[in-house]
Symmetry: C2
Subunit: 253 residues, 2 copies
Amino acid sequence: MTSTKTEYIACLIVIGNEILSGRTRDANLQYLAGRLNGWGVQLREARVIPDIEQTIVDTVNHCRQAFDYVFTTGGIGPTHDDITAASVAKAFGVGLVKDPKSFALMAARYETPEEFNESRRKMCFIPEGAVPVENSVSVAPGFQIDNVFVLAGVPSIMRAMVDTLQNRLVGGAPVKSRSIGCHLPEGAVAGGLADIQGRWPDIDIGSYPFYREGKFGTSLVLRGTDEAALDATCSAVEAMVIRLGGVPMPEED
Amino acid sequence: MTSTKTEYIACLIVIGNEILSGRTRDANLQYLAGRLNGWGVQLREARVIPDIEQTIVDTVNHCRQAFDYVFTTGGIGPTHDDITAASVAKAFGVGLVKDPKSFALMAARYETPEEFNESRRKMCFIPEGAVPVENSVSVAPGFQIDNVFVLAGVPSIMRAMVDTLQNRLVGGAPVKSRSIGCHLPEGAVAGGLADIQGRWPDIDIGSYPFYREGKFGTSLVLRGTDEAALDATCSAVEAMVIRLGGVPMPEED
């Protein structure tokens, strides 16, 4: 089977009242985005939603139709506010079933029935038809059901889970980027930059003001899958910076 | 006119390819959420979307119906990728008009026509019927149109804009919170916590594992508008922690 599909897009659903209340600052979007870039999948949208079952069901059902891949983070722990697995099962219209491997691992870790209590047992239940997503940090699994990947919210566990997924994702060409800094204000480069964007429409050109070491400036970031087009755009941006009296400085992407 | 409405909900739309590519980590959600908490408005959802006109139009039009207030950040600078003002105007079916005050301020700052170029002039145009949102950091304004507040993406400017908005927002009772830490794992407190949540359904109880100073533990966060109920729930949580052999530690909310 061959496919002419070249663009693969993903959505991240961050589940957790603690993000929306401002208590906790999300740390997972950035990590996932970077990994997906390397695998040729573009993170096209992210949503932060509360621990409300109907909201999770509706959001998952909308996003799994609209995107090639959906990732969720948060809500798979043992407490009453961890309702992601049950909500995703409901979104797919299936029940929760015990994952025997996780159950055995956890049963070995917690010796007494008091320790291996109902709350901890809950973490071994995944939707019918789902495949566990294991990780090197915790015995409790995430899971994949169809194109939806349900991951932990704790960043160290989330990252370990993401790192196992490369072989489960089909992507396109990896997105490469170049970044050029200069001590010119955005308002000075805007006109020339628009011209360059017009000449290379397949390169995504972003402009971001910065204040570093006591100086204002602008970072010009070029992103795309075609290395030759990236190089040509990069040269044009550097020439523009020099023409405007600035000094182009290569930056980390 | 009186209103029986007690809950006011908001959505944040973060606009910017640089967030979705992982280049930049959003810093605005947390600030907005904290301010809104104090004004009795709950941030109920956030969406991160790319610099694509139709996506901005559709997202703004969906969210302004679904939430009392919508805030956007990003995309109001001078460059070609700054398309938020034009997209929001399109969402409302209106044109862009010059804001005379911003135009005069900016004209005074940039003396020559070369400096006060087309790209910078663009920043003084806001949708017809919108009211500018000024700030103490930059002469370029954000704006409010109906229940949509369009703010800068640069955190220092975004914060200065948010700080001017208190008098434009009607809110309910401010949400208060209490946080109790303990060196017990989530799996140990889960059962007792679910019982407490059942007794005080109007208090939102969250449980978050932590690793600090070489020790694992759990933060139990209680949120609600009723101080007496918060105090009662807090006492119940502290008693549970002691019953399980832990030491309840008050934490910063």
